[in-house]
Symmetry: C2
Subunit: 247 residues, 2 copies
């Protein structure tokens, strides 16, 4: 038995999210079925962070145990062939120690949220960014974002469906930068609550529009109440970028 780790890129639009569902295609299901066609078994994969419907990944990490002698490069090539024409690509594959776990060994996760700040509708980027027509003050957004850094009870920014035991998380990075019409929010933490990045970005957008002050964002955090949430940003602009592991 060998444990293989993958780096996965996918377009989240056609999927109900990462995790297998009773109804609707998911990323996990597509990869497991491709692995099944290669191995003749029913492998189960584990990932660093289960993404929602419509959320993308450029550097998701996942692992699987296989009772099969196969070089990692050949497994990657076979998987990419069997995944066709799904918009899921295996970017890397290597053998890892038996105690390496894509989810439980992960010590940091990085997301990026992409906003297109313009009035005109989207064309080539439809489904790939969040279009915000109101002019956003990205410097105010960045200043407000710094209020959320550190260890807090993020209940306000947590989905009602979140299954985490605790609403306390430590946010290590939340940077807002602008290049022309493009505003990018980069978030990093050991782990995130369900909907946390989208909820933080939605509220930062309210600050960017001038609807909320920096103090309003802080008050929403302090409320520790989902009802204090200003706005949950759509999945379109969210990308799982990177998972870090010790060593």
């Amino acid at each position: 038995m060998s444990r293989f780790a993958f780096t996965v890129e996918f377009d989240g639009r056609p999927y109900m999210g990462w995790q297998r569902q009773a109804h609707g295609a998911t990323v996990q299901q597509c990869i497991e079925e491709a692995l099944g066609r290669i191995t003749g078994t029913e492998p189960v994969i584990h990932c660093a962070g289960r993404t929602d419907a419509g959320v993308h990944a450029l550097g998701m990490r996942a692992h699987v145990d296989l009772d099969k002698e196969i070089a990692p490069f050949r497994l990657m090539e076979a998987l990419n062939a069997h995944l066709r024409p799904e918009p899921i690509a295996i970017l890397g594959c290597e053998v890892v120690p038996e105690d390496w776990h894509a989810r439980f060994s992960c010590i940091a996760r990085a997301y990026e949220y992409r906003i297109r700040n313009r009035r005109a509708p989207l064309t080539v980027e439809a489904g790939l960014v969040w279009r915000v027509p109101q002019v956003l003050d990205s410097e105010a957004m960045h200043e407000a974002a710094q209020q959320l850094l550190g260890r807090h009870d993020f209940t306000t920014f947590r989905s009602a469906h979140c299954q985490a035991d605790s609403p306390v998380r430590t946010l290590d990075r939340l940077d807002v930068t602008r290049a022309g019409e493009r505003i990018t929010v980069q978030a990093q933490a050991r782990s995130f609550l369900h909907h946390q990045v989208r909820s933080m970005v939605g509220c930062l957008a309210l600050v960017g529009m001038g609807t909320w002050s920096v103090a309003d964002l802080k008050a929403a955090l302090d409320a520790r109440d989902r009802a204090a949430l200003g706005h949950n940003a759509p999945p379109d602009g969210l990308y799982f970028m990177r998972a870090d592991y010790p060593g």
Copy 2:
């Protein structure tokens, strides 16, 4: 009667190209039908450069004559509303002099060709870039590209369906740059022949792979023969970026 000029962005994937066709949706048709619903007439639009099926635009320019009193901003807003859900967006609109012509007044056109140089299949960028799995030497591509600058008979790089009177064009810029897996080719000229950018990029890729030398590319140009063409790059990676006008 007022002449309105537009800046247009579109995703070329769903269209048979810019120009109206007997069968199949085109960008021209979509915009003309949207204009028709606004004005109750059958307006005809003209563009700076007719693009092929699958080719995108981030800054196409076009004009139309309308016998209607309407502020340019309102016309743009109405057009964007009527174009929904087509992936076509009007980014700007202004009134221009009667002798301003999107095609005939244009003094320079700029295209960008986007390559993703990697082995793994595309996901979020499918249809939006050309994936080349072989490792490309972008510096060799740039060096070779400089051979094509200036005034030449570009018959080798011209589609059999090209309707231009002369195969002679003056190429002002053909820069190849790399950022990680992304290779970008930026082309500028007063005007281009049909398929010229895609044909030049296809041959530059052969140089990048080491299949062609810089001298091979020059020989292909000098042959003035479509049969000397090495490769025509797919439409996916091509973007009409900008049209320049006097003043």
